[in-house]
């Protein structure tokens, strides 16, 4: 159980050596969670920024801290959650005991949490207030199938869940570099309103420049409503920039303790 006296939280992000916006949402969620005083300590670490995952091995040396919840701020399971994070943090399984008394609990990535569907729906409502869902197509943008990454699979699962709710006229997966392409949005949809939500952790160059260019709106242009080809196009920031993501991070830490024992032995 998470306790404010003996539990710590480590949020693991990707970070970037070129994109200043990459780590900003992770840092903002950490600040928000710290402010709430749920954990004795809250820290971040990054693959491509400081502090590194290797630095994190020296965090939480307070003898009062008995457990460290390690939450990957990633959209899905994949190369980073399966290979890089366990290797760099020297995690030996779901729970790793350090210094004899401290257990590092390796949680599922944030994007896997069941509340993600509700976050996407809420994001869609926020970016297109007043747009009747029955006259709206919702497009969820995924990265595509790079480097042993399951983010495309995760994006497909979200689309299926939202589609099953039968609220939107259409719910579709689109990608930047493979079909169905985000640039084909006009052909792919037949509704008056089209809402586009990037299923990404941060607003990188993809969501600032690439996706707007593919949608045919000005690069770096304001999020929100664009009137194009007689349609209303609503473009949202990356889902990971949603301030409510902080709640999902906390929920994902809590979910560790309610996992079934059989899952805890998996590496």
């Amino acid at each position: 159980m998470i306790s404010r006296s003996c539990s710590a939280l480590l949020i693991v992000g990707h970070g970037s050596t070129v994109n200043p916006d990459s780590s900003a949402p992770t840092l903002a969620h950490a600040a928000e969670i710290r402010r709430r005083g749920i954990f004795a300590d809250v820290a971040c670490c990054f693959w491509k920024e400081e502090p590194s995952l290797r630095d994190a091995l020296f965090f939480f040396r307070d003898p009062g801290i008995r457990e460290v919840y390690v939450v990957p701020n990633f959209i899905s399971e994949g190369y980073f959650t399966r290979t890089v994070i366990p290797r760099e943090l020297e995690l030996t399984g779901a729970g790793t005991t350090r210094h004899g008394v401290q257990v590092w609990k390796y949680c599922d990535p944030v994007g896997n949490h069941e509340s993600m569907t509700e976050r996407l729906l809420q994001r869609a409502r926020e970016v297109a207030p007043g747009a009747a869902e029955a006259e709206t197509s919702l497009l969820i943008v995924g990265h595509g199938t790079e480097l042993n990454d399951n983010s495309a699979v995760a994006a497909k699962e979200q689309v299926e869940k939202i589609r099953a709710l039968d609220r939107y006229a259409a719910v579709l997966n689109v990608y930047m570099e493979e079909p169905p392409l985000v640039s084909d949005w006009l052909k792919l949809t037949g509704t008056k309103n089209v809402v586009v939500v990037p299923f990404f952790i941060s607003d990188g160059l993809h969501s600032y420049e690439d996706i707007p260019a593919l949608l045919g709106i000005e690069s770096g242009s304001d999020r929100g409503r664009h009137e194009l080809h007689g349609r209303s196009l609503f473009y949202s920031t990356a889902i990971g920039t949603d301030p409510k993501f902080a709640d999902v991070i906390i929920e994902q830490a809590k979910a560790f303790d309610s996992r079934k024992p059989v899952l805890q032995s998996a590496s």
């Binding site: 820290a43 307070d62 290797r87």
Partner: protein, 220 residues
């Protein structure tokens, strides 16, 4: 919430007279407050004042020319700001954003709990696109570290790791002070909380990869 060990250790370091860290000067104020500014901005009265510890992330993100700083311990911290903080707890949050991870590593070092990882071990552990970095030759590694990690223009950290298990010096091009935690890497000669490098950063690994790939191309 009780003060964490790191905050206690930070308080002790300040009490012992360590009022500088990297390019930052920490000045004690009344009522337990602290004021931070760039060491080269001492005495300026036109600094823009901030009071949120989280502001440190923003200050540290870009250099004076507005360029993104991928390495926070590079000697290019922006000038012209002043950050006033309420407590040691806030100071710790701000320093963790200016120089991420450095306080914890320093505390580990003070407690004889810091283990450094040889460069060859870091390179050998890589997978994916960085796996090839391990192929870097001795001479190339010597030159790369000598240039990339140099305090003058490269990075202000004190190198604690060796190049390999045999204890080979990281680079013969670096002066002995680069490995001395008591030395002020800015060259200003003050007592400082050192920015320790216990393991090669991802940027150096990426440079090693580039060096190998450049060699491969030249060899073709």
């Amino acid at each position: 919430m009780s003060s964490l060990a790191q905050e206690v250790a930070l308080g002790k370091s300040l009490a012992a007279g360590l009022w500088c860290i990297g390019q930052i000067a920490i000045e004690p104020q009344e009522n337990g407050r602290f004021a931070l500014n760039h060491r080269e901005d001492a005495g300026r009265n036109d600094l823009i004042a901030h009071t949120q510890p989280e502001k440190a992330a923003e200050i540290a993100r870009f250099d004076d020319a507005g360029k993104y700083r991928p390495l926070k311990t590079a000697p290019n911290l922006r000038r012209g700001w002043r950050l006033v903080l309420e407590s040691v707890a806030e100071l710790r949050v701000a320093l963790d954003l200016f120089y991420p991870g450095r306080l914890d590593v320093f505390v580990a070092w003070e407690n004889n709990a810091l283990s450094a990882t040889p460069l060859r071990e870091t390179l050998a552990r890589q997978t994916g696109m960085y796996r090839v970095a391990a192929k870097i030759g001795e001479e190339e590694a010597n030159t790369l570290v000598g240039n990339f990690c140099a305090s003058d223009g490269g990075c202000l950290r004190t190198i604690m790791w060796r190049r390999d298990e045999n204890g080979t010096t990281p680079s013969t091009l670096l002066p002995a002070e680069k490995f001395d935690p008591r030395y002020d890497q800015t060259g200003l000669g003050e007592t400082v909380i050192p920015l320790l490098c216990q393991e090669a950063c991802n940027l150096l690994v990426a440079e090693a990869r580039k060096s190998v790939q450049g060699q491969d191309r030249r060899g073709q």
